[in-house]
Each structure stands twice: as structure tokens, then as C-alpha cells.
Subunit: 345 residues, 4 copies
């Protein structure tokens, strides 16, 4: 299987390279990078020295479509939707790591992203690539909207209770915390070491663009309109997302029953680990891996349930899930090339 | 003014030393430390080399009471309440940084702390030392219950809206994040560098002992019984607490009105800084200082208000507020010895 | 191939578990851990949840010798030498990650380690497991002394010039920097997050126990007695060793010639990467992997050469090299189970 | 005393603001910043919110010279030398934190900095502002070349033995480690959080521009030409410099004698702390303060002495020493506005 990557020198793109360089069925033949054309990929990501010897190229998607089986676009919002067309989609599968095709309601997309959508005709066709939920649709898809990092972790943590109708969907508050790689590799003062280190802050309060993506997916799960609070925070660490979600229980159900539900949803899912009762997820236990760790705690005093999820934002939250989608699309084992332990410490 | 410190070689105790070593009116004459008796204080805290030349002593509170004007107890729960008696309180003022005298309902204290209270007769007399709220009572107090770190930051962030009756007190959810110095200086595997670094986790979910302290103070402010969710998280940084609090607004009020209320409560408070609208608090902007930075955001979509506060857990959350209390008790300017800028980066 | 690990719940031991859990030819059947007997391994190292389901056991080496093909001892100095005997070595291969069998001169060992050696009769037989240097001896060995972290990185960085006789061996100064996992998982105040974070310090100045190990190996390489300065420093990061070594050149040789020599020594070595001229090694480019990155710079002004090496202390500096040794001993491909990219960021 | 700062919104400039905002004799009347003209200073450095209410201005040095008593230039190399002239120097004292006037040999400056010097006529007059060494000259100076961070720490650590003629000046190797604030606040990919965190690397090997500055000062101290190796490293922390310097002793002298010499040089210097024998300097013990901690260790095996120094690069290495120079120039107590304890943790 031949692979092209557009945006290979961002953190998510480089993570795809890390996985596919050792993937038994895939071969990267195009390292696309606007900023580093003609530069060796390993000059930019020294970890790949003597593993990847190729040179970065530009963004010629037409040429790419002729030469590869699948294209990953790990690029800013708006780029993928400006590149795809029927001709390209007829020749090659596309896995888009941007938000362009995640939201079905174009007006919601355009409002939150402040971008005009350039190819609305493919929004319906695009499959939201949350593998554990949409596996069957992914198998047949030409165009995958790879989920956002926060939405993946949030949704998988809340999904069983939403689906079972056990929580008040409009009581949901998601307080999220992310490592700094989620902010990308752009040279911005706000992301300098000394600005991020020894600090924690909220950002995008009541306005973060992952909010409607989470709401849409939760509404599919629950069959209800959903409006939530979502507050991300920037944490001084490289990788990892932790979400702490709160919701009011609307049925009288015990902590044990809740765990039973989670187990029934996830025990067959290799990449979702329901932790033992009483154990809270921690990002260190998933670092570098495609696992999502989930823990739950019912609070009898308040009648709320606290749902927690930990995940590596660059793996299950981006490149890992993208490769998992590729595996599903090409009939491979879902964990192919993703089957390794988290790195600790 | 002569000062004794019991528990001088914990992080909070050492922070009291840092402040009082340069305080114009105070002189530390007793560096109490069980673990380091007869060792030079600066052998334990090398930052104080050639600034503090004294040697640590044991915990003889009776002797202390004869020689000093005020005692700080920066010790584990249960110690201060086992040491105080009428004789001591008649001779010396005590500022207790533990939780022993914070909670007025002894059954609540004993349930959450799992300790039998050794001197319940002083609970009523003890003044909860949240300076901005209880200034007048503090002036006359013999025994100060210095507030917990999370409660200080949580309460000051929520207080104006609670007091004004603008939020549903039982809808409050406080998602808190703390640097690691809050875990103390005990040698525990969980607090090792490699265990904390590159990680974020929740702990004490639905069971953290600062919960009833926050609830009690909020009930005084609002005149209602209050039951909340409080979830602390451990962040890989040395200092700093950030709280992100959510509540349902029960009156129709605009974002600007909310800011006006906060300004009316805090504009005369030197150590509480209401940030400009749109600016979120960050722990880096208060590091090393006694400031609490507060920011607010109304979410029109959900009808909730998000209240945020940032603070240095060792300063306003412990040693700084303790010194502020001392200043008030002894008729000094409240900021005496605490008047310096936060350290950044 | 059946494997037993004694000391499986230290950082190095757990790293062996990480590698062997996905090693195609090895199966761990004994997770030895004094501190966690009867506790699930994944309760201690949560990253291995649902990957390793076994429970930790004690240290019965006699029983182990009957059931496994190879034992890793990732234990404090003195333990392995107190356990081995001819009977055990006749049944099972041992790879010892401690220093017990690294130093051939027992008096040097006993002086620097302040321990009486319990089985000096095996010192001569033990092979110093620096794979790239002693590959042939390793193949036939029963007992491997897995090299120390600093010695591995130091030696591989200096070896070509030492072997070629191009540097004054007594002019060598090695200034080393290590991440904190090198200090182990013991609960010590000095290794707490707040003590290590935002700090750098030297330790063991002129007295660190890796000094004689480095000197001995360099003397074998150069054929001369070698006395060096070695100064390790503790760096606030989890993993990684960087060594910066200085030596006086004793022949007139250009920077290019030096690179040519390094390439001739290492181009066939998969795990040693000679970086392009002008590129300095960085620990981030090797994190989680078994690579050692080497860079060199001749200083024409001073006539010295600066030799730099970067490595993951837990991988090539401990568990990775131990597995590499196992692979060699059992006739497997050297990179079996170790063939993955470094993790960045 | 009225003060103007050119370059107030870099890390060093902002640190001058931090000190002078609480300095009893100084008042900042000009916050110069090219990038933030008309923006509130506290919008850029939120720690100064409600402490500094002024707005940033441009770089009009002529106007500044009319209104202030002293100007700090915390600007890139080449700027200060392009701004000064006799008229300005006749009206105002200048403390330049750049390298423009540090090196007396203009050809050395121009070679290492690759800049043409714009006002060579003032090089001789400029006083190298290493307070402990040049105190008397500083008193009378109009133009101060505030020393570089590495040179300050390196020189003070080596000075006593260099001055006493006890070490071979051409055997000196300085291996230095710096926190990331030393790299400045420019938006560069290399200084992003994820690029610096969990990494250590050398940079500027055999070519760093502080090398000739250190060599020149050491040659003054020793009366000999000096050529050294100087290798800086980037450490994942905000603040702090540690230098580890090696030199061959040329006289037979004991460790105690060496300490005696250091004490005789520094016991009257408030900001230089000679640590107890056996204690190594650590950057955490000086963070935020103007102290330099010095430790020494003779290695009997190699005949070398290891000299170590720790310092806050932004304080004694930049802004603190600049204020110390100002204090000396204006006849104030040297520690005025600088008299506070290091912050730990």
C-alpha cells in the first residue's frame, strides 16, 4: 500500500511517519511539506535519522492521486476541502486530519471556523472516523474525517451513558486538559518553552471549535439536541489529553451498574481500556500509544457522574486513529502498526 | 515581633521563612522541624544559605509560647489541635495552616479527615483566615484557621456571584488544577519526578477533603446549604493553582454586569486582581506572589457562568495568606513583607 | 524462549517488560519484585494494563533457573553476585543489569562500590555486554554484565579515537547529563518532582562509580592506563543521557578525517548513528529507542576534539541493551523487539 | 532617579521592570518596546498587572536622554552601539545588556559577532560591569557593558584560582548549562515548548560568542593569554545557569587551601556565596535572586580542580547585575532592590 502525507512535518504528520515507517503493509512515498520542500525529512525530525531517508516535496495532490493508495492530510483547516474533487476521490482514499469534514451542518462549521467551506458536496459522504463507533461505514469510505483530539477523548468517555439515556445531555460539562503538542509546531510566542512551562491556563472558554463537534456526536448517540460546556486547558507536558466530564444522572443507578455498562460497550475494543473501579485515568499510562483509558465515578452526594478519559492527543487523538482508519479501510487488522506499549516514564 | 514556626521544613513552612526573613517587623526565633532537629535550616533549604543561619529545633510549644508573639503551625492535620490549650492561647497568637480549625461542624471534620478532634472547645473561637472576607474578625483573633489552598482560590473566584444570589448554588462544579508542591515534601513514589512529569491526573474524585471546607464557606456567603462537585488534578509544575468553576445563572444578567459586580467586590482588595474581560487567569502570572487573579465568562449558549481563579498555592494558598493574617492581627499593613511582583518566567 | 525478570518493577525492569511483551520470540513467565509480591504488575505500571495480566512474585532464583531460559537481574549492586552459582549458570543464562560483574579488578569494584563481592569466581567469565564491541564473546556467554548507562554512552562516543590512538587518553574529561529515571524509583526526597524540576546540579563529582568502568573499557580500547574526569549532572527530564567529552588530539588530523573514522567504525552498526557534520546529538531524537547518536567537533583553536553522544538511559543504557544482548546470545536478529522509532515530541 | 528601558518586553528587560517597580530609589518612566508600542506593558507581562500601568513606547533615545537619569538597553547586539554618541552620554548613564561594549579588541568582536561596530570610540571608555571585580571603575562610568550570563558565572567561579596563578589557564574547559529564558522571547521553532522539553543538547560548540568574552576577562585576571573550550547546553527549565569548569592545577595545593582562597575573595561579597565543602551548586537555590553559588572540588586522581557555579541567568546574569551596576553608579547600597531570597520550589 502506497501512502502520501500532506503536512508531514507537523507534529501529527510526523507521528504518521513514525507509525508507517514500521507498518508492515504501508510504504510512504510522498512526504509533503510546504515549509521544507527539498529538505530531508530527517533533518527536520532527527528521531527518524537513518530510518527515513526521503526528501520533502510540495503539495501536488493531482500527482499524488496517481501514485498512492491513500493520502493523509495533516494540514490546517480549509486545505483539504480546497483540494479534493471527484476525480481525486475516484482514484485515492483520503484521511483528513483537519476539521473540514467532521461537522455535517455546514453553517455550524462556517460559524465556528470562520471559513467558507470549499467542497460542501462531500460533507455528507465523508465518514466521521471514530473507529469504535463507525467501523462499518469506515470500511466503505472514500473520505474520512479523522476526529479531533478533544472530541475523541470526550466522546468515548461519555458515549455509553449517553447512548443508554442515563444522563441529562444538557447538564454535560467537559473540563479538558491537553499537552502542548496539540498547539502545533508553529513558531508562536505563546507556545515557547518559557511561556508554557510552569503554567496552566484555560483557553477558548465557551468558544473552542471542538465544542460543536462533540455536541454533534453526542446528539447522534443520545438522539437528542445537545448543548454543552467545554473548556480546554493547556498543560506543561508534551503529549496527552485528560478530560473530566460531569453530568447529572437521570436514573437511579449504582456505580457498579455504570461500570458494567462501560464494560459491555468496550470490552471488545482493544484500544479502549476501562480501568478498574477506583482508578483514575492518567496521561502517562497511554503516552505514545493508541489507547484511551476510561474511568468513572458516581458521586452520591450530588447525583452526578464524573467520567474521565486519558489519551495521547497525537496518537488516538490524531495520527494513531488515522492509521487505525487506514487499517480498517484496507481490510487490515485494526491494530496493525499500532501494537505497542505506552512509554513510561 | 518574635515568631516561631512549627513545621518549618515543609514547603509551606519554608515559604513562611522566605517571607519573614525579609519582613521588616518580624523575626523568626524558632525553626521547628521534627525531621531536622539540630540541622542548619539552610542545609535543608539551600536557597536560604547565608540568609538564615539558625538551626532547627523540636516542637516544644510550651517553651515557644513563652518566647514568641505568634506561632505558625505548618504541620499535618491533627497536630495543632493536639497542642493548643487555654494557657498557650492566652500567651501567644496561633496561625494554623492545617485544617484543624477550618470546619465549624466537628462531625463533618471527623468524617472527612478521619481524625478525632483533640480540642473542639476552640473551634468556635477560631477565625477562618480568609483575609478579604473576615478581616475584622481576624484583627481580634487568638487562633486563625488559615484556609486551604483550593478553598481560597475557589471561594474568592465564586464569592461575588454567590453573595449576590445570582447562581444556583447546587449547580456549582469546581474543576481544580494544582502544582506538585501542594502534595508536600514527603518521600512518596507518587510524587517522584518521573511519576509526576509528563502527566496529568485527577485525584480524590468526589472525596477530596477540601470539599466540605468550600461548601461551608459558600453556604455562609449565599445563606443556603451548598453541595458541590470538586475535582482536583495534579499538574506537572512546582507552584500554582487554577480553578475553573461552573454554575448555572439564575437571573438574566450580562457578562458586563458580572464584571461590574466583581470589580465592586475586589477593586479595593490589593491581592485580588480582576483581569480585563476576555483574559483568562494563568498561574504563571501569580507565581511566587500573594495575588489571586480572577476572570469570568458568561456562556450565553448554556446559561452558565465560568469563573476562573489563579493563585500560588504556597503563597496566597498557604504561607502568604498566613503572613497576611499575621499582619492584620498585629495591626500592620496587610501587604507588609508580601509586596513584590510575581516571578516570570 | 522463557524469560524471568528479577527486579521487574524498577524503571529498568519495567522497560524490559515493555520490550519483551511485544518481542516475537520471548515470553516473560516471572515478574520478580520484592516490593509488590502478589500484586498485579499492571497495578504498578498502568501503561501495561490489559497487556500484562500477571502478578509479581518473589526472588526464588533456584526455581526460576528450572523454568526459564534467561534471567534478567535489574536489581541493586550486590544482589546478583550473591545469587549466582555454578548450578544456576549451568541451567540458565543471566543478564545482570547491576555493576556486579562489570569491573574485572575486584579491588577496584570493592573500593568504589564499598561492597564485598560475593562471587568473584565468575568475574573473569562474565562478558561485558557492550554489544557493538563484544558481540562475539556475548554469543557464547552464560553471564552478561550489562554495561552502565553513562559508560555505554561515553565509551561509544570516544571509542574510535581511543582505538586509533589519536587522543591523549589522560586528557579525557567527560561531562555527562542524565534524565531523572536514572536515579531509580526509590522514594527519596531528592528525587521528588519539586526538588528536581527547574534545577540542574552536578553530583558524584570526582567520585561517581561509573568512573572506573569507563576507565577500564577505555584502557582496553587504547591499550593504555586511563584516568579521567567524569562528572554527571541531573537534568529535569524523564529519560536521556547526553555526554560531552573533551580530549587533546595528539596527531594532526582534520574534522573530516575524524568523521571518516567514526563512519568506518559505526556505519554497519544499526544502533549507532553518526550524525551529519555540524549536527549535535540531542536526547529528544533517541527517546524510547535503542539508538546512540554521536557527533564530533574538532576545535582548531584549542587542539581538542569534543565528542558528544545522546542515548536513552533506560534503553541502550539499560533494558534495550540487555534485550540486545539476549538477542545475540540466542542467535536472533540483534534488533528483534527493539526495532521502532524514537518518540518525539 | 528616573529610568528608561529600551527593550523592556524581552525576558531581561521585563526582569529589570520587576526589580525597579519595587526599587525604593528608581522610577521607570519609559518602557521601550519595538514590538508592543502603545500596548500596555502588563498586557504583555501579566505578572505586572495592576503593578505597572504604563504603555510601551518606541526607541527615541534622544528624547529619553533628556528625561531620564539612566537608560538600560536590553536589546540585540549592535543596537546600543548604533544609538550612543557623545551628546547622549553627556546627559545620561547607559547600562547596555548587549555585548556591544564588552570586548575591548574590536576585531575580536566583529569576528565573533559578525557585525560592524558602530561606535568604536566608546569601547575603551565602557566599563565591564562585573560588579565584584570592577566596582571602583563602575562608580565613575558613563557607559556600562553589562556582562554576559555565561561569562559572569564562569568568571566568578574561576577567578580566585586564575588570579592566584594556581591553574594552567590553557587547560580550562567550561561545560555550561542554561535554562531556556537565555534563548530570548523570539518566536522560533527551536524554542517551542515541545522542542525544548524532555531534551538536552549542546549548541554553539567551539563557536559560542561568549567564548572570547570569558577568555578576555580570564586573561586580565591571570595576566596571560587564555584560550579555552566553552560548551553551552540547553536545559529544559526556565531559569538558571550552571557551569562546570575543569582546569589542571599547576601547584600542589589541597582542597582546604582552595576553599580558603575562595573565602578570602568572596566572604565580603554579599552576592557570591561560597558553599560548604562537599556541597555542589544547584540552580534551584538561586532562582529569582542575584546570588552566585560557588563550589569547588579538587580531584586528587587527575590533578584537576572542578569549579562549579550556579546563578539565575536573568538576574545576576542580566537584569539583576544591571541593577546592581546602577546602584553602584548612583551611590546606593549595592543590594538595593535586589535584596530578597531565591524562590524554591
Amino acid at each position: 500500500m502506497k501512502v502520501g502525507i500532506i503536512g508531514a512535518t507537523g507534529y501529527a504528520g510526523a507521528e504518521i511517519v513514525r507509525f508507517l515507517s514500521f507498518h508492515p503493509e504501508a510504504e510512504i512515498v510522498w512526504y509533503g511539506s510546504r515549509s521544507y520542500v527539498d529538505k530531508k525529512f530527517s533533518d527536520v525530525f532527527g528521531n527518524m535519522f537513518q530510518i527515513v531517508n526521503d526528501v520533502c516535496k510540495g503539495e501536488n495532490i493531482a500527482e499524488l492521486a496517481e501514485t498512492v493508495d491513500v493520502i493523509f492530510t495533516a494540514t490546517p483547516q480549509g486545505l483539504c476541502s480546497s483540494l479534493v474533487n471527484e476525480d481525486i476521490l475516484s482514484k485515492v482514499k483520503i484521511i483528513d486530519l483537519s476539521a473540514d469534514f467532521r461537522i455535517k451542518d455546514i453553517s455550524v462549521y462556517e460559524k465556528w471556523y470562520q471559513i467558507e467551506h470549499k467542497s460542501p458536496q462531500f460533507i455528507d459522504e465523508a465518514v466521521y472516523g471514530l473507529c469504535e463507533i463507525n467501523r462499518d461505514k469506515i470500511k466503505a469510505a472514500r473520505l474520512i474525517a479523522n476526529p479531533g483530539c478533544y472530541p475523541t477523548c470526550s466522546f468515548l468517555s461519555i458515549y455509553p451513558l449517553a447512548k443508554e439515556g442515563l444522563i441529562d445531555m444538557n447538564s454535560i460539562i467537559i473540563d479538558a486538559k491537553s499537552g502542548t503538542s496539540g498547539a502545533g509546531r508553529g513558531a508562536k510566542v505563546n507556545n515557547l518553552y518559557c511561556e508554557v512551562n510552569e503554567n496552566i491556563k484555560a483557553y477558548g472558554v465557551a468558544s473552542h471549535r471542538h465544542t460543536p463537534e462533540i455536541e454533534e456526536q453526542l446528539s447522534y448517540a443520545s438522539g437528542k439536541d445537545v448543548v454543552i460546556n467545554f473548556t480546554p486547558h493547556l498543560v506543561p507536558m508534551n503529549r496527552g489529553i485528560l478530560i473530566t466530564a460531569y453530568a447529572n444522572l437521570i436514573k437511579d443507578i449504582g456505580n457498579d451498574d455504570i461500570y458494567e455498562i462501560y464494560h459491555s460497550y468496550y470490552d471488545d475494543e482493544y484500544f479502549v481500556r476501562v480501568l478498574p473501579d477506583g482508578v483514575c485515568p492518567e496521561t502517562r499510562w497511554v503516552e505514545g500509544s493508541n489507547f484511551v483509558d476510561v474511568g468513572i465515578k458516581k458521586d452520591d452526594r450530588t447525583g452526578r457522574v464524573i467520567m474521565m478519559g486519558a489519551m495521547d492527543n497525537l496518537v488516538k487523538g490524531a495520527a494513531g486513529q488515522a492509521v487505525q482508519n487506514m487499517n480498517i479501510m484496507f481490510g487490515l487488522d485494526e491494530s496493525c502498526g499500532l501494537n505497542f506499549a505506552p512509554l513510561f516514564p
